[in-house]
């Protein structure tokens, strides 16, 4: 499994649709301060079911919709799709790619889809946890958080291991 494609539209600074086609291996993202690099990671977590506003760095759900910047109109919905390569069938879905999509409307409602079929949020969380692609796992280090793991208290570290076993 690896992330094959990311599509973002109407989410944070991505007022217009952007598409990233990825490969397995080592991928690097760079750009000026405030250009939208960390927002891409927020978009990935968002599509995989992340619900904490603190993690997504927003004061409310509406704050995830593109605010129009200086030029455009505010987006009325945010849509993020993450397509995984699944030729190894590690994700228990019978297709070569599995696409997780989340749509957020102005009323704060989220719609989740897997391979374009409506599913519940719980279904997304179960599936991502099963294949360790859930944001909860220790594989995501958000900006400024790198020292947190070294600073965990011993009991917190035990609980982290316990939760993964």
């Amino acid at each position: 499994i690896y992330i094959k494609r990311i599509e973002i539209e109407g989410f944070k600074t991505f007022g217009k649709k952007v598409v990233l086609n990825l490969e397995p291996g080592y991928i690097s993202v760079t750009g000026l301060n405030g250009s939208g690099k960390s927002n891409i990671f927020d978009a990935i977590l968002f599509a995989l079911g992340e619900s904490s506003l603190k993690t997504l760095r927003a004061t409310n759900l509406k704050g995830l919709l593109f605010d129009g910047g200086v030029s455009g109109a505010r987006s009325s919905k945010a849509v993020v799709s993450i397509q995984f390569d699944n030729t190894s069938r590690e994700i228990p879905v019978d297709s070569d790619t599995v696409t997780f999509t989340r749509e957020l409307r102005e009323n704060g409602e989220s719609v989740f889809k897997i391979n374009n079929k409506h599913v519940s949020k719980q279904m997304v969380l179960n599936l991502t946890q099963l294949c360790l692609i859930s944001p909860e796992a220790f594989n995501v280090v958000l900006q400024g958080m790198i020292n947190r793991i070294a600073e965990l208290r011993p009991d917190e570290r035990r609980r982290l291991l316990e939760s993964l076993v």
Partner: protein
């Protein structure tokens, strides 16, 4: 439950020792606080950097903590294999020597799991199989793909 836990613990501990040695020539290991009652105590992450006494990971410098955290994350990989890693400017507080070593080990690991690194440093960009540049134009964020080998300054518009 205890057995399953200890099996994972041993695997991670073994891996941590090997990875940390490769990264720093020092030693790192996990210690159980209460061996007789594991779930009532914690787990210490002990670290000894070359030329220093062993210490708990809490007492390290900023750069030393970064190295220790990455070693621990990669060690966990042995017990809980994750298909991808998202690492956002983890290289910000590293000196040139630690940066080079860190990027080399991440490059090796990227053969098993996809690693996506946000960076403002050339060394981190230099090993990439694929590079994306994010830039702001008329109030919208855009993404462009670069061929590997480009420098950060050229990619920052």
């Amino acid at each position: 439950k205890r057995n399953v836990f200890m099996e994972a613990f041993e695997k991670i501990d073994r891996n941590l020792r090997a990875i940390f040695k490769e990264l720093t020539d020092g030693d790192a290991w996990l210690e159980v606080e209460k061996p007789d009652d594991i779930f009532q105590g914690g787990i210490y992450l002990m670290v000894r950097f070359p030329g220093k006494k062993p210490k708990e990971s809490l007492m390290l410098s900023g750069g030393e903590k970064t190295i220790t955290t990455v070693a621990f994350i990669l060690a966990m990989q042995s017990a809980f294999k994750s298909p991808f890693y998202l690492l956002d400017e983890i290289d910000a507080h590293l000196d040139a020597i630690n940066l080079e070593r860190l990027i080399n080990i991440l490059y090796d690991r990227s053969k098993e799991s996809q690693i996506i690194l946000i960076t403002l440093k050339d060394v981190t960009l230099s090993k990439a199989d694929k590079i994306f540049g994010v830039y702001q134009r008329e109030g919208y964020a855009n993404v462009v793909e670069y061929t590997p080998g480009i420098k950060v300054k050229e990619a920052q518009q």
